[in-house]
């Protein structure tokens, strides 16, 4: 993997990514609740949610790409992290993993 060119920018991108990954994770749980209510109980109380969630997910994609470009991920990894935002609970785990990886590499380059 390439070295991180701009540690400061990468650090900011990581923070943005962490916030968005958390938001999408929560939003996804709301979405699952909405679907259970709607198709399981014919309850349409949360029907308004899928639409804003789509836009939140889009911001997550932007955050992932932003981070990916700054820390030199390949396309495959970016796409996988993006898709992780579609699986309930997985996004929390991926966020932790990504944060640990990038923070570790950032420590290395910042220490120099």
């Amino acid at each position: 993997m390439n070295e991180i060119r701009d540690p400061q920018a990468a650090h900011k991108a990581l923070t943005f990514f962490k916030v968005m990954a958390f938001t999408v994770g929560i939003g996804l749980l709301v979405l699952v609740t909405e679907m259970v209510l709607r198709y399981g109980f014919d309850n349409h109380a949360l029907d308004w949610w899928p639409q804003p969630h789509g836009f939140i997910y889009m911001v997550y994609l932007v955050a992932t790409a932003n981070l990916g470009f700054k820390v030199g991920w390949g396309l495959g990894k970016m796409v996988l992290v993006m898709l992780a935002g579609c699986v309930p609970f997985l996004s929390f785990w991926v966020e932790q993993k990504v944060a640990r990886e990038v923070e570790g590499r950032l420590e290395g380059s910042l220490a120099l």
């Binding site: 701009d6 836009f55 790409a65």
Partner: protein
């Protein structure tokens, strides 16, 4: 130029093909959602107006009163009789691809007031029967008066029409032709039922289906989905451009790094082989392997 050369690498060309597929399919999906949004909006509007019961006309609007905001497409009922004279034709109108005339007759309510009723459509202006005599209960779909026509009172085909031809259902024109208090509305007849002794001549003119309400109705949620598909497509395009640019930048840096010291304070320590003990052992064995 360099970026262009980078874009022509097989890897980026392949991804470009993928990008084109994504752009085309996402654009199409967005259009499909927009279509869903339109038809849903229309269906909701139709269901909304159809769900409301047929109301007595005078409970919705009275003569000389302003047209109510929610009156369009409202199904109303009125009892009275058609005035024997005063029938007009409105042209040019289209129905199922044919051009012809709307047959509009003044309907005088028992309770007072005159309502223009679109009784039907015809292509034969000379063969329009007069409105039936007697008392009727008319059920119709309410509509606001039309704006004045650009070409008022079109004389059709050299005056072969038995009735005068107007360019639109302009109530300010009709109010001068017809007696009584005019409603600020007209109706598309859906049903004419004899009230009492009247005999209805069988289907004198073909009915005009009232315009579907909600032409402007848009299900905002589906419209947002459409927008999202297009944003995703734009995002994919951005990803491709950004990756190609990064790759071109990498190539440039590599070329610059080989030819001479490109000053970049952020990464010069890493480039310095003396300060990066991890990289040199990695690189050297590879070079040895490839040379052997």
């Amino acid at each position: 130029m360099e970026v262009l050369r980078t874009a022509l690498k097989p890897r980026w060309l392949g991804l470009f093909a993928l990008l084109v597929v994504i752009l085309v399919s996402f654009t199409w999906l967005g259009l499909w959602q927009l279509d869903v949004a339109r038809s849903k909006g229309r269906a909701e509007a139709v269901a909304h107006s159809a769900g409301r019961p047929v109301a007595d006309l005078t409970t919705v609007v009275r003569p000389h009163q302003a047209f109510p905001d929610d009156g369009s497409g409202r199904r109303v009922r009125a009892t009275g009789s058609y005035a024997a004279d005063g029938q007009v034709l409105v042209a040019p109108r289209r129905l199922d691809g044919r051009t012809g005339y709307w047959v509009v007759a003044p309907f005088v309510l028992d309770s007072g007031g005159t309502l223009p009723v679109v009784r039907g459509f015809t292509t034969e202006a000379a063969a329009v029967p007069p409105p039936p005599a007697g008392r009727f209960t008319v059920v119709g779909s309410l509509a606001p008066g039309e704006s004045p026509a650009d070409t008022p009172s079109v004389p059709s085909g050299g005056g072969t029409a038995a009735d005068p031809v107007l360019g639109s259902i302009d109530l300010s024109v009709l109010v001068n032709r017809w007696h009584g208090d005019l409603f600020n509305a007209f109706a598309f007849a859906l049903e004419e039922r004899a009230a009492g002794d009247a005999k209805l001549d069988p289907a004198p003119v073909e009915r005009v289906p009232p315009p579907a309400p909600g032409e402007t109705g848009l299900s905002w949620r589906n419209a947002a989905y459409a927008l999202q598909w297009w944003l995703f497509a734009a995002f994919a395009a951005y990803m491709w451009v950004r990756m190609v640019r990064d790759d071109a930048e990498n190539d440039r840096r590599e070329a610059a790094g080989e030819t001479g010291p490109k000053t970049d304070p952020g990464r010069s320590p890493e480039k310095d082989p003396g300060k990066d003990p991890e990289k040199d052992p990695e690189k050297d064995p590879q070079k040895e392997k490839s040379s052997t």
